[in-house]
């Protein structure tokens, strides 16, 4: 079936202008800073043997992390799509939380579970078994899966729920075998969603730094991002930093391009927007496997979170005015980022837009921040722009995720309804209002929640710009830890978790009109 969207006869030019300008701003914001750093540095630098080691490790860990995140998401998402149980909605929402946790908080939570003095090792030694060691390549992969599995599950679950209910009805009345259901209904869905999801996770893991370092256990786990940090901060070798940043960017674009090529496969056509009820997978074996997947994934994702909460509660009372003010800033930044990001994502919600947006997360935040600093410095005092710049950059960083969530639904809506809309001569406004936005409501809500939460938790660029009056909450967590205030830092982390998660749930709920989704 030809799934190519048919061009709308009604006002395609405004749509195209919106898309092109959104893409232009995106390109300028990613390439501009690198160019500025290169200009300031006076050219490219050499790549050292240590850089090549770092590159090799970075590629291996990113490929493994993205692979495991995607592979494990399939059974978990399928189990969640097939099962109905009390608390399922809450579980789905809670399971999204790791993705939005600030890195340092999540790492501490994981270490409290898997570390030398963690729960797992406590249980193992109580049973007289040898301890496990979380530090190493496997630790890095575990942490990245912890971060990315929730989003992978949500993307797939979204796809599953967007399968027209009529298809499952038909499958049930034809008494299709589980294998037939998989190959006819689920496999095309995976073919369509997985390459893109893999690319996003691969790219986000490319720029990983603190996770890889803390859980990597030593210099073998050196990533390119660490080499950039070293070049920037210790050697002030901007040309070296910019060179590495370009390599990172090139890798991301190759990964994105490959994903775009692989991500073929049509949508499954339209339905009547009924609730997707499932008749398959009701046998005891299927029930058991599904329950096991849900239990294991739930424990893996939720226990570290519970530990973060437990560690943070005593620290909540220690929070001072600075921290509360920082929380206010973070909330403002998060809301501004969300509005920006959605306004940016809607015109870009096409496969090539998703590819382009990968550039945003492939750029080292350090290079991005430095580049913006170099660009802004001649015109304004960058300190006064700390919060707007942070909001903008956070919107940029969240864009690939928002697009990954919105694009499949937007594409299939275009493919499925463009002809009808053209026949009815719908205006652009009517198309948006009556067809596109209602159909995108759920992904839009999810994307907004994600953006808001990511923008709350991201440290990214602010470190170069912030002054004491304009700190954000994640920065405040680091400041507290730097002054021996580990308990207050744990409290501030919990506050951050509560606020991020609160925003996430608020937006995500707002998008979910169909109750059982």
């Amino acid at each position: 079936m030809a799934a190519r969207p048919v061009a709308l006869t009604a006002a395609p030019t405004t749509a195209r202008i919106a898309t092109l300008s959104a893409a232009g701003i995106l390109a300028a914001l990613t390439l501009g800073p690198i160019a500025a750093v290169l200009w300031r540095a006076g050219g490219l630098g050499a790549v050292t043997p240590a850089d090549l080691d770092a590159l090799r490790f970075t590629l291996v860990q990113a490929a493994l992390s993205a692979g495991f995140s995607c592979a494990l998401a399939v059974p978990v998402a399928r189990a969640l799509a097939r099962r109905r149980f009390v608390g399922r909605g809450a579980l789905v929402a809670l399971m999204g939380a790791p993705f939005i946790l600030p890195v340092i908080v999540a790492v501490m939570g994981l270490i409290a579970l898997f570390g030398q003095a963690g729960l797992v090792n406590g249980a193992l030694s109580a049973l007289g078994l040898p301890k496990i060691d979380i530090y190493g390549l496997h630790g890095v992969v575990v942490a990245h899966v912890f971060f990315n599995l929730p989003l992978a599950v949500r993307i797939l679950l979204q796809g599953w729920l967007d399968l027209p209910a009529e298809r499952f009805r038909l499958a049930a009345s034809l008494r299709l075998t589980p294998w037939a259901i998989f190959s006819q209904l689920e496999w095309p869905l995976l073919r369509r969603l997985m390459p893109g999801a893999f690319a996003v996770f691969f790219v986000i893991c490319l720029t990983s730094f603190a996770v890889a370092l803390t859980l990597g256990g030593g210099p073998r786990a050196t990533t390119v991002e660490l080499a950039i940090y070293q070049a920037m901060r210790f050697e002030f070798d901007l040309s070296h930093a910019a060179t590495l940043a370009l390599i990172q960017l090139a890798l991301a674009l190759v990964a994105g391009w490959v994903a775009l090529r692989l991500s073929r496969g049509a949508g499954l056509g339209t339905g009547l927007d009924r609730l997707p009820l499932r008749w398959d997978g009701q046998g005891p074996a299927a029930r058991l496997t599904d329950s096991a997947w849900i239990a294991v994934a739930g424990a893996f994702l939720l226990v570290p979170l519970a530990l973060v909460v437990a560690r943070g509660v005593p620290g909540l009372v220690l929070l001072g005015a600075d921290t509360w003010r920082a929380a206010g800033h973070s909330l403002g930044v998060a809301l501004a980022s969300t509005v920006l990001c959605l306004a940016w994502a809607l015109p870009l919600a096409r496969p090539r837009g998703a590819l382009l947006s990968l550039a945003a997360i492939a750029i080292s935040p350090l290079v991005l921040g430095t580049g913006l600093f170099v660009i802004l410095r001649p015109f304004v005092n960058p300190f006064t722009l700390a919060l707007p710049v942070t909001a903008l950059v956070n919107a940029l960083m969240a864009l690939p995720f928002a697009l990954r969530i919105i694009t499949p639904a937007a594409e299939s809506t275009r493919a499925d309804y463009a002809r009808l809309a053209a026949t009815l001569r719908l205006t652009r406004g009517a198309w948006l209002r009556l067809v596109l936005l209602p159909r995108l409501r759920r992904p839009l809500g999810f994307a907004a929640g994600l953006t808001a939460a990511l923008a709350m938790g991201d440290l990214g660029v602010i470190a170069l710009f912030a002054d004491p009056q304009r700190a954000t909450l994640p920065l405040q967590v680091y400041r507290l830890m730097g002054s021996y205030q580990m308990e207050a830092a744990a409290g501030a982390s919990l506050l951050l978790l509560i606020l991020s998660f609160g925003l996430f749930v608020l937006f995500d709920r707002g998008g979910r009109v169909r109750a059982s989704a």
Binding site: I104, G115, A117, L215, G217, R220, L226, M232, P468, S483
Partner: protein, 326 residues
């Protein structure tokens, strides 16, 4: 006419605000939180100068180098000798013109640009409640059983990690890589910065953490906890000093000079111990806060001048990288 009046009023208003001069000081992040020394320095200095002291926190040196002579900073505080060579070569800094006689550092200090305000030494900190027989020398640490768990910082991303690489180099020289190889099995992990390491230590994830000889003072004074100790090694401890410097291109030369003078004053020095949890650079030991006087002090202090540190840095980091990559 109205517009003119408004403009006149506006100008007067800005002039009134501008009467109070502003001194801009770049400082590291940990300086400016409500728990850092920044707020107290600000309070004490503003009481003396009738000016507005503004701290701008962040990566001090990279930012200054990035901004060059267009920087707004009048003074920077919180640099470290292991990275000052680049700062000096930038030519952005002016002589501090402060009399160095009051200094009480364990080493001679004659630098006329970078002024020390507090110091400490690298050391492994442990809890007596968790570790009964802490290694009593660096050799003992290397030869300790492999189930001793230590956590350190990355010399490529952390100033204390770099100090440790230089420390190992100062003790073991050409054998540094072999020393790192011996240490490797005991290293739980390497973190980006000091905060993450110290967090892992307080969470019980490691028995010993690379920190400072002054860290136990925080626990003694702020938490009334005397169970945290720095293991003192006869081979010596690497000296870490924090520095301030005045920008040559400052538009507030007098205020900047006042601030430099203020740094070695008793007001500043008697506050900095508990403000920044380090030894004051110019205060006799008997005037230190009680908790600091109780601290075990190293007998041998190891130190590389900034030229030596700059020359040895790559070698010391490479020894660390090779030793831990085995």
């Amino acid at each position: 006419m109205k517009a003119l009046t408004f403009a006149a009023g506006f100008l007067t208003a800005t002039a009134a605000v501008a009467q109070q001069e502003t001194l801009t000081v770049y400082a590291p992040d940990y300086f400016v939180s409500e728990w850092g020394p920044g707020p107290r320095i600000e309070e004490l200095f503003e009481a003396r100068c009738d000016c507005d002291l503004q701290f701008l926190p962040g990566d001090v040196l990279p930012r200054i180098l990035l901004e060059g002579d267009r920087t707004e900073a009048d003074v920077v505080i919180g640099l470290n000798t292991d990275v000052t060579q680049q700062a000096r070569e930038s030519g952005l800094f002016a002589p501090h013109r402060v009399d160095l006689a009051p200094l009480t550092l364990p080493i001679d200090w004659t630098d006329d640009v970078f002024l020390p305000f507090n110091y400490s030494h690298t050391a492994f900190v442990y809890a007596t409640t968790r570790l009964n027989d802490a290694p009593d020398s660096f050799d003992a640490l290397l030869n300790a059983p492999d189930d001793l768990r230590i956590v350190i910082q990355d010399p490529r991303s952390s100033i204390s990690g770099l100090a440790m690489a230089l420390w190992v180099h100062a003790i073991y020289g050409d054998e540094a890589q072999a020393a790192w190889e011996q240490l490797a099995p005991k290293i739980v992990t390497v973190t980006r910065g000091w905060s993450e390491s110290y967090g892992l230590f307080t969470d019980g994830e490691a028995d010993m953490v690379l920190s400072y000889t002054t860290s136990p003072a925080y626990h003694i004074i702020a938490e009334d906890d005397t169970t945290k100790k720095a293991a003192i090694f006869p081979e010596g401890h690497y000296f870490m000093v924090e520095l301030a410097a005045k920008l040559a291109g400052t538009d507030q030369p007098e205020l900047a000079q006042d601030f430099m003078d203020f740094i070695l004053s008793e007001d500043f020095q008697s506050m900095i111990a508990t403000g920044n949890w380090s030894f004051p650079a110019a205060l006799p030991r008997d005037q230190w806060p009680e908790g600091f006087q109780q601290l075990d002090m190293p007998e041998t202090v190891l130190f590389y001048s900034e030229e030596e540190a700059a020359a040895l840095r790559d070698e010391a980091i490479e020894a660390w990288r090779q030793g831990l990559s085995r």
